[in-house]
Amino acid sequence: MALLEVRDLSVRFVRRHEPTVSAVDGISFDVHPGSTVGLVGESGCGKSVTSLAIMGLLPQRGTEVSGSAKLAGSELLRLSRREFDRRRGKEIGMVFQDPLTSLNPVVPIGVQISEVIERHRGLSRRDAKREAARLLDRVGIPDPTRRLGEYSHQLSGGMRQRALIAMALACEPRLLIADEPTTALDVTIQAQILSLLRELVAETDTALIMITHDLGVVAGMCDEVNVLYAGRIVERAQRHELFSRPRHPYTAGLMASVPRLDSPRGQRLAPIDGSVADNIPWERGCAFSPRCGNALAVCGQRAPELETTDAGEQLRCHNPVDATETVERADD
């Protein structure tokens, strides 16, 4: 059985005086223990909203969540706030995008780590503090005992994210959600944080949902990848299959817009035409069709369903990229 089963998850933001936003539109995916699942897509496609829905962290007012998200068989989406608080931080940990704003500026780092240990593991304040120091050491922060008393402004960006990872993993959750954990960091630090995450997850057999807009991160981390577009999954495949044979024109477009070591010198990168502003609503057809080079007449009339291909991938497209056409990649 999957550790996390998300079924038909939809999130709509209903605002007075504003059109309703359908941020997530019937998403389903599974996460198995010890595996890393990627949620990939452009900014605004609903990645964060998906993770916040699973964490029960969406604003309560004006938000309509439907569908189901079961953690180890027990439904999360209908938990009361109080019930959620007993499980968040303990069974699911989350690492956010911006380590600077995600840490409380007036509470010492040590307290921000030990509070979650005290809360869920029932340790005394002293033991929790010792445990916090151990965790800081584990995530690679030197001189952890001194760092416990410091504040976020005294830490570097990379250290802050390490501290946040320590918090999220403090209770050894079975599932970790990382929402663009490296986007706000310098490139050299990004690699360090990713390898730390990879290491910790492997070590503790934690399942990881890796949210990113960065295909490099996907290539380095994920076992399975879900490509999101306008709130829906448009393609799901194992990492290797996805990179070697992207079927959805959007996925293919993403890859073409990224420089590759093996591409001929001087070859232009091809960004995807248009922007999400050109999207049509899924009710009218494929949201991506106005930007799509492969679009047929049917694409603007009827939205494709997510279907299993012969190769066992999931694909939502009337006219996928031909498997033979794009295969120019090589090394593994």
Binding site: E42, S43, L57, R81, R82, F84, D85, R86, R87, R88, G89, G93, M94, F96, D98, L100, T101, S102, L103, N104, P105, V106, V107, V111, E115, V116, R119, Y151, H153, Q154, L164, M167, E180, A184, V187, D214, L215, G216, V217, A219, G220, R239, H240, F243, S244, G253, L254, S257, V258, P259, R260, L261, S263, P271, I272, V276, R329, A330, D331, D332
Partner: protein, 385 residues
């Protein structure tokens, strides 16, 4: 990595780029450091930074006091009339006037008068009251009356804080609800209605119409209470004369409520706005993601941050309290500094006006220094770097 030779790079239409991140980082720092910046806190690693800061502020206090004393000295003497007319009336003879003028030293050049005043003031001698309590040293008048005003102001501030902060928090968390709307309206009325009028209204309704609270004074005369410190409530508690303490407290209630309305409104509105800002912060979401109980999220993560601007405001409210005390003491006939000020102006009592105004200005500056230090105690960004 590089299973496919992909080099890490932001894909098309990628999210926040460097510019945006820089902006966010700057905003974050500013939001925390701005009040501190306004305070001019030194941002150093050593604790001595705070000490140096305190010393510098005390130096400023000295300069402010001296400058204020010069201005005050000149300004009082530029007012029409003067203590002589006030003491002797308009129809006194030239001779008696001249004698009094000489006696008070008012015939000397202003700078000589000031110089003498300064010399005596340094020894604690601010001259003799000519109007408020003629013949009593002005310092003594001040010391006698100060406890009444302090007692009143402290209770008013406590009321404002004790009601304003929790109500501000609740209103923010139930934004747009009935409690929110009600308290906003209430705070608006509090600011809009003059303290003087409100004091009269309270007195009329609760003291005269319903008679549930005393209408004036600080304590019932017949109680024969011991007054060791001059703070009547405190006196009663110290001497275990509970009825005296209670009686003094009951006398304070109406004036304190009247006096607290403006500080309450300011503290309430700022708390509300500040909580609304803070609950949107990423670190509150982080706290929730850790499953911390509502109490910890509220106290440690929301309120501690939301209190930063409020703390500063509390210091600034001392000014509103002191000016409000003038009117409140008038209405409730309390022999405090406010009353001394209005009497002093009516009767042109230079000595009393000088000591009261200088002392309150010093209190104002000192309170704000304490507030700044309290701010630094809450906000580590001002202590360390």
């Amino acid at each position: 990595m590089g299973a496919t030779g992909v080099v890490r790079r932001t894909v098309a239409a990628g999210p926040p780029g460097d510019a945006q991140r820089g902006e966010r980082e700057r905003k974050h720092r500013l939001s925390g450091a701005l009040p501190g910046g306004a305070h001019g806190f030194p941002q150093t690693t050593e604790d001595s930074g705070l000490l140096r800061y305190t010393v510098r502020r005390l130096g400023q206090l000295l300069i402010v006091t001296v400058v204020l004393s010069v201005l005050l000295f000149g300004w009082l003497r530029a007012l029409p009339g003067g203590p002589v007319s006030a003491l002797l009336g308009e129809r006194a003879t030239e001779e008696s006037r001249a004698r009094l003028v000489e006696q008070l030293g008012l015939d000397q050049p202003l700078y000589v008068q000031y110089w003498k005043f300064l010399g005596r003031a340094l020894t604690g001698d601010f001259g003799v009251s000519t109007g408020v309590q003629p013949g009593t040293p002005a310092m003594e008048v001040f010391l006698q009356r100060m406890p009444a005003t302090l007692e009143l102001s402290v209770l008013a501030l406590l009321l404002a804080v004790a009601v304003g902060i929790p109500l501000g928090y609740l209103a923010a968390r139930r934004q747009g609800g009935w409690l929110d709307n009600l308290s906003i309206t209430w705070s608006l009325i509090g600011v809009a209605v003059p303290v003087f009028f409100l004091a009269f209204l309270l007195k009329y309704v609760f003291a005269i119409e319903f008679g549930v609270l005393p209408a004036s004074g600080r304590q019932e005369a017949g109680l024969d209470a011991t007054h060791a410190t001059g703070f009547y409530v405190l006196d009663g508690l110290l001497t275990r004369e509970w009825d005296a303490a209670w009686n003094a407290f009951v006398h304070l209630l109406l004036p304190a409520v009247a006096l607290s309305t403006i500080p309450f409104a300011v503290i309430f509105r700022l708390t509300r706005a500040s909580v609304l800002d803070v609950v949107e912060e990423d670190y509150v979401r982080t706290a929730r993601s850790k499953g911390l109980g509502a109490m910890v999220v509220r106290g440690r993560h929301i309120l501690r941050n939301a209190m930063l601007p409020v703390v500063t405001t509390i210091g600034l409210q001392t000014g509103a309290l002191l000016s409000g005390a003038v009117l409140t003491e008038q209405v409730f006939n309390i022999a405090g500094l406010g009353q001394a000020l209005s009497l002093g102006f009516q009767r042109q009592d230079y000595a009393v006006l000088q000591v009261v105004i200088l002392a309150t200005a010093m209190v104002y500056v000192l309170v704000n220094l304490l507030v700044d230090l309290a701010y630094a105690a809450i906000d580590p960004r001002l202590r360390t770097r």
